[in-house]
């Protein structure tokens, strides 16, 4: 049973529950004291010792159900031995109707299949799966490999020969064997799928995420949008964990003589209490301008999502969305959940044809005061202004007021300046210009922006 628990721990790691050696020892001790008699109690004990949050409990619970739903290899082995007394009787009985002589020359697997001895078949399956190292399966692409490896180990070659031979001599029996073989194949495939679900989840997920992170945002297929959103949320959470935690200010540094003397005036200037110079740290102030016009509609969805999460990391964020004109969306993003807020914003200004010039005019007229020397201004957009006046001088004035101007452009550098792209003219007034087409680039860009305030 210990072996089974170990395999369960591995499966648990597969569903994203961190099982450290110490925790597995605890789980073992817990299981030793409650025993295996009551399945529900066993489930509770494992959930108590291994899962450390509600999400993990859910994941582990379903993993437990899946794991113990499959046939346990040790049990059928024991069961197989118990049945061994009966099976020799059973084997000659069933093929007896079909023809004794034929069955004698068949291989072990064929005999077993014809006998339809369920326990023996599942025992053989379990043995083959452990011999094939089925618990090492990681990727869905390995399914075929493991299935054929298992079938080989069970003696499919001999079975095929038997089938060929029987087709000549005893077509009726051959048909039955054929059907049984199909069943066997299905059973093997199911066992492999189950093993993949148990052990391969994490790796498959990682692989998929890796691909998704590097996929261009503008070319995400509709079915991947939900996954992409989850990924962006994950990025946002990571940013939040990294930057939102108020770190204790370090008390090292130079002695602040003035403050020390003042503080110790009561003791005649004898420095009982010391005061240290502190490094002044800017509070992050961010102004985000997000293009939501038709040309970048696919990408702006994710931009908005990221800005939404930025609102949770940084206190002082003001965000604006524009296509033909510009409006402030801070309040919408602050007060509503992400999906709703995005739909709302898209309703108000989305999908128009973009006019950077008049949007910048709008910004200067109404919101220029929000830009201070501590502000980082982020512009998210492709700078395609439909051949209208880009009014780059406004961006220049913004840049003069702000700490930095960062432009994130979903298009590749190659296309900047081609067609109606005004990127080269805007570029001169930006401190940082980045291409930002994939989730990974988006994460790096935002991480850099927040990090400059540390």
């Amino acid at each position: 049973m210990q072996e089974n628990l170990h395999r369960f721990f591995r499966a648990a790691r597969g569903v994203g529950v961190h099982v450290s050696p110490a925790e597995s020892i605890d789980a073992m001790r817990a299981v030793a004291s409650v025993g295996f008699a009551d399945r529900n109690v066993l489930r509770d004990s494992l959930l108590l010792t291994l899962a450390k949050s509600e999400d993990e409990k859910k994941a582990l619970g379903s993993c437990f159900d899946l794991f113990f739903a499959q046939v346990e290899p040790t049990q059928p082995e024991g069961g197989g031995e118990a049945d061994a007394g009966e099976s020799p009787n059973a084997v000659p009985q069933s093929p007896a109707g079909a023809g004794d002589t034929a069955s004698q020359s068949l291989g072990a697997l064929a005999q077993m299949l014809l006998a339809q001895n369920r326990t023996e078949i599942s025992a053989a399956l379990a043995n083959a799966s452990s011999a094939a190292g089925l618990s090492d399966i990681r990727y869905f692409t390995q399914r075929g490999l493991f299935a054929s490896r298992m079938l080989d180990l069970m003696g499919i070659q001999r079975l095929r020969d038997d089938l060929d031979a029987l087709n000549e001599s005893n077509p009726a029996l051959a048909e039955r064997l054929q059907a049984a073989t199909e069943d066997l194949r299905t059973a093997v495939r199911e066992a492999v799928s189950q093993a993949l679900a148990l052990y391969g989840r994490e790796e498959t997920e990682n692989l998929r995420h890796e691909i998704l992170r590097n996929a261009p945002l503008s070319r995400i297929e509709p079915r991947q949008v939900a996954q992409m959103r989850a990924l962006i949320r994950q990025i946002a959470r990571r940013l939040r964990e990294r930057y939102s935690k108020p770190r204790k200010r370090q008390r090292r540094g130079h002695l602040d003589v003035r403050r020390t003397l003042r503080r110790n005036a009561a003791w005649g200037g004898v420095p009982f209490l010391t005061a240290w110079k502190r490094r002044h740290r800017d509070r992050p102030k961010i102004v985000a301008l997000c293009d939501v016009s038709g040309s970048v509609a696919r990408v702006s969805d994710f931009f908005l999502l990221l800005i939404h999460s930025l609102h949770e990391v940084v206190d002082d964020v003001r965000s604006f969305a524009f296509s033909g004109h510009l409006i402030e969306v801070s309040e919408i993003l602050d007060s509503k959940p992400a999906e709703e807020a995005m739909a709302d914003i898209m309703d108000k200004v989305g999908f128009g044809s973009s006019d950077y010039g008049s949007s910048l005019v709008d910004f200067e007229k109404e919101f220029m005061a929000s830009v201070t020397p501590q502000t980082t201004v982020i512009v998210l957009g492709d700078a395609r202004s439909n051949n209208l006046d880009p009014r780059a001088e406004i961006l220049k004035r913004i840049a003069e007021r702000a700490k930095r101007v960062v432009w994130l452009n979903p298009e590749g550098r190659m296309t900047w300046g081609w067609g109606d792209s005004e990127m080269p003219r805007y570029q001169t007034f930006c401190n940082v210009v980045r291409q930002c087409a994939t989730a990974q680039q988006l994460e790096r860009a935002v991480s850099d922006i927040v990090a400059t305030y540390r």
């Binding site: 004291s33 409650v34 109690v41 010792t49 450390k52």
Partner: protein
């Protein structure tokens, strides 16, 4: 790990359930299993869940059932070693040095040189940094309790991350190290319960050392039993209607869902008002016992009539 003789081991999970029930705490199977396991493998329990589902109550019930003293440490921001673990009794130390001044002079009088005096002084050891002068705070008290105790570390999520690290030694080995005195190990391992409202994420190191128990809102049957044990005078019809009504209320989108403690309060109020059944008027008048935000009451009010009607219907068929 060294096995400590536990004074009275718990026989089974059922024993936990019945023992807690005798104290008026109706535990679900998960809770009972957690309590049983925490004894069997000597691990603290970290209890998470929304406010008012009986996290703190669990510790009290365990203490009452096992006849142990309960030591409670309420966590808050800025809680530190001096308030949680131990402190030197500075005033007493100072007083003693003053009183013993003469005596010290006498003892050291024989010494000719400064070195000789120092040597003699060393011979007495750390007189003023001994157990006499330690003021034990909750954590140390729990370790020093001779026949064990229940240590409740309440709302651990409210404390700082540094405090968590302080707890690690106590939670894993039931011992603390005081620099001047050395390591103090528990004579008998205390039952440790930590509670958290998930206000912030606790560190992995802390979580690893604990059994993680999540108490959510109870199922209808269980909640009825809880009300039954806590509010003795309530009729069966009212109890069933009330619990069904609260389960309906929890399906609404509220700022703060009514939890078990609110259920019990409400049941008490209804018994006081001598209501025998749930009616629209009574419910509307007493809704503020159940819901703590004006906005929530506004959300719930329009639904009251249909929910009450539903519970009455169910009662006829059930």
């Amino acid at each position: 790990m060294a096995e400590r003789p536990s004074s009275h081991a718990i026989a089974s999970i059922e024993a936990v359930e019945s023992g807690l029930a005798a104290q008026g705490y109706i535990a679900s199977r998960q809770i009972a299993t957690a309590v049983y396991l925490s004894q069997a493998i000597e691990k603290p329990i970290l209890v998470e869940g929304p406010a008012g589902v009986g996290k703190t109550e669990l510790a009290k019930a365990i203490a009452a059932w096992r006849g142990l003293k309960m030591i409670r440490l309420q966590c808050y921001e800025g809680l530190d070693e001096a308030k949680a673990l131990y402190e030197w009794k500075y005033a007493k130390q100072l007083l003693y040095t003053q009183i013993l001044k003469d005596k010290l002079g006498e003892v050291l009088g024989g010494a000719q040189t400064l070195h000789a005096a120092l040597d003699q002084l060393h011979g007495f050891g750390d007189v003023f940094f001994s157990k006499e002068f330690v003021e034990p705070r909750p954590l140390l008290q729990a370790l020093l309790a001779p026949e064990g105790c229940v240590l409740l570390i309440d709302e651990i999520d409210k404390s700082d991350a540094e405090f968590e690290s302080l707890l690690l030694e106590i939670l894993s080995d039931f011992q603390v190290t005081i620099p001047e005195l050395g390591t103090i190990a528990a004579t008998s391992a205390p039952t440790v319960i930590l509670t958290s409202n998930s206000e912030r994420n606790l560190g992995d190191a802390l979580k690893r050392r604990c059994l993680h128990l999540h108490i959510g809102f109870p199922e209808q049957k269980l909640e009825e039993r809880i009300v039954e044990s806590r509010v003795p005078g309530i009729s069966q019809i009212l109890r069933r209607q009330l619990v069904a009504f609260i389960h309906d209320i929890r399906t609404l989108d509220l700022k703060k869902q009514p939890s078990v403690s609110e259920t019990i309060d409400w049941a008490r109020v209804l018994v006081l008002l001598q209501a025998s059944e749930l009616g629209h008027e009574v419910v509307k008048d007493t809704l503020n016992v159940l819901l703590k935000y004006e906005a929530d009451i506004e959300v719930a009010l329009p639904q009251v009539t249909s929910f009450v009607a539903k519970t009455q219907r169910q009662n006829i068929f059930g």
